[in-house]
Amino acid sequence: MILRPEEWAALALSLKVSFWAVVLSLPLALLVAWLLARRQFWGKSLLNALVFLPLILPPVVTGYILLLMFGRAGIFGEFLARFGIVLAFRWTGAALAAAIMGFPLMVRAIRLAIEAADPKLEAAAATLGAGPAARFIFVTLPLIAPGILAGAVLGFAKAMGEFGATITFVANIPGQTQTLPSAIYAFLQVPGGEASALRLVGLSLFVALGAVLISEWLARRVAERIGQR
């Protein structure tokens, strides 16, 4: 399949945006999942609702809220601009939008894994002299690795497909913020763009299928490693 330069650009941008969206939000997702699974604190229901909000809200609303907060005049946007960080209408903004939309899925997958990890094993580790940090690194983390992996794959898939919040927050600038879904949408708006759109649709299918197969294989390997199969 021969792709035109702007189609390549859309694919490369989508991969870059999704990669950074997952890598940067994973540690925070792990922390939030752990808090929700293991800790009792005031405002836990509120945090839970806040995390899941992007899943329920129309993506356009999420995108618009991001624009209000992270735009040049927004409270966070203005603050970040002082350090030369601009998110609105940049690929970094697309990564932020993708991260926020994928966040609930990641938190949910990791939280389920943490809830399934037996706290009795951590208690056993404590009697062997392991402090809280060592227990997390040497016991909990390896046990929940499949859940973290599943969360990352879900987050990546969501990021690859994110459209509504992205186009609202960072628009649809070729080479800058035009991800795969935005490009498909753009090609469908111009006469004679169907062929390009179709090629990108095929590409999306290919990437999605590849991601599912790779994650299945990784999950199996990890499960074998931690002795669950």
Partner: protein, 363 residues
């Protein structure tokens, strides 16, 4: 070496209120399920915080409700062998037993522990491929290598079937006799307690009802309601004199000699034998024309009538104590009362192999 525990704890409508002190060797906490045994070990290890009280190990305060002092579990250096093993599924056997090494200040001798528990062939295996008995041996090695000051064992054999128990008991005896750390052993099995424990604490409904050296507690007629009439019995220490060609072994006890089958320990060594109260007959005269070879002169020290038709008779045999169970009717007809001299008769085949344990060191 001493552990001092005085705690109260409430979970639901169950109330635990105990106070005891243990020394070196094995102290067993014996009681039915739900009597609070695990709550005690969990409190000692710091996995639960008792409502009130104080826990001290070798003059160090681990927990004191009054002053609010509470040492974290990972700082207490108390090894714990759980009933369900709790091996880490993501690590090999070797990874499991090495786990505590990185946190211990002094390195434990891995090879020695591996050899003592016979783990060489298992080192590269995964926990999910091990049998129940193998898992418990690995859990034991893992706890030992973390260099604990005290070892807690919570029903380590309860999840195993009888052949597996017999397979692991010799390892526990070896551990008791070689490891220089005190052990608190929780169990609801009289057979295990009789074989392993130096001291015994009997727990009932969250309270200590009896305590003392295992021999004394088990041969006390008052223990019968707690251990059950079929399980009640006494423990004797015997020296192996001679192995006969017919498979019988001559043993020296303080009050005479015994002839028993099923002894595998070498000549000159000391063993522990548990003799069930229901396997002993009493006779006023030295019997003649009787098939039993084991006839011991004894003196009645106490008699206790139960609610049912039975009576528990405590006997002195040399410096040992024996417990016999006879019917109350027979006790009355024979005129059994404290001070009476009579003879205890034991059938040689009445002592199963599982009730004969090794005792490598004298204490």
């Amino acid at each position: 070496m001493s552990l001092e525990v005085t705690i109260t704890h409430i979970t639901g409508d169950f109330e635990l209120d105990v106070s005891f002190r243990t020394g070196s060797g094995v102290t067993a906490i014996f009681g039915p399920s739900g009597s609070g045994k695990s709550s005690i070990t969990n409190a000692i290890s710091g996995l639960i915080n008792p409502l009130s009280g104080r826990i001290m190990l070798n003059e160090t305060v681990l927990y004191d409700a009054t002053s609010g002092l509470n040492s974290a579990p990972h700082k207490r250096r108390i090894g714990y062998v759980f009933q369900d093993g709790r091996l880490f599924p993501h690590l090999s056997v070797e990874g499991n037993i090495r786990f505590g090494l990185r946190f211990a200040k002094v390195g434990g001798n891995l090879d020695e522990v591996v050899q003592m528990l016979g783990l060489e062939p298992l080192l590269s295996r995964r926990p999910n491929t091990l049998s129940g008995g193998e898992k418990q041996r690995v859990a034991l090695a893992r706890a030992l290598l973390s260099q604990p000051r005290l070892l807690l064992m919570d029903e380590p054999l309860a999840a195993l079937d009888e052949p597996r128990k017999d397979e692991i008991l010799p390892y526990l005896e070896r551990l008791r006799d070689r490891a220089k750390i005190p052990i608190v052993y929780v169990s609801h099995s009289v057979a295990e307690v009789a074989r392993l424990a130096d001291d015994l604490i009997v727990l009932q409904g969250g309270k200590i009802v009896m305590s003392g050296p295992t021999e004394d507690v088990l041969s006390d007629p008052a223990a019968m309601p707690f251990v059950g009439v079929r399980e009640a019995g006494s423990i004797l220490r015997a020296k192996v004199l001679e192995h006969g060609s017919d498979g019988l072994c001559r043993l020296q006890i303080s009050g005479g000699e015994l002839v028993l089958p099923g002894v595998v320990t070498g000549v000159g060594k000391t063993i522990r034998i548990r003799i069930l109260a229901q396997d002993i007959l009493l006779s006023l005269e030295h019997p003649i024309g009787l098939s039993s070879r084991n006839i011991l002169p004894v003196q009645v020290t106490a008699i206790k009538l139960g609610d049912g038709p039975g009576a528990a008779v405590s006997l002195r045999c040399g410096s040992d104590r024996l417990l016999a169970r006879v019917t109350a009717q027979a006790a009355e007809e024979l005129g059994i009362k404290p001070g009476l001299d009579c003879f205890a008769i034991l059938k040689a085949t009445a002592v199963p192999r599982g009730n004969i344990g090794e005792k490598l060191s004298e204490n």
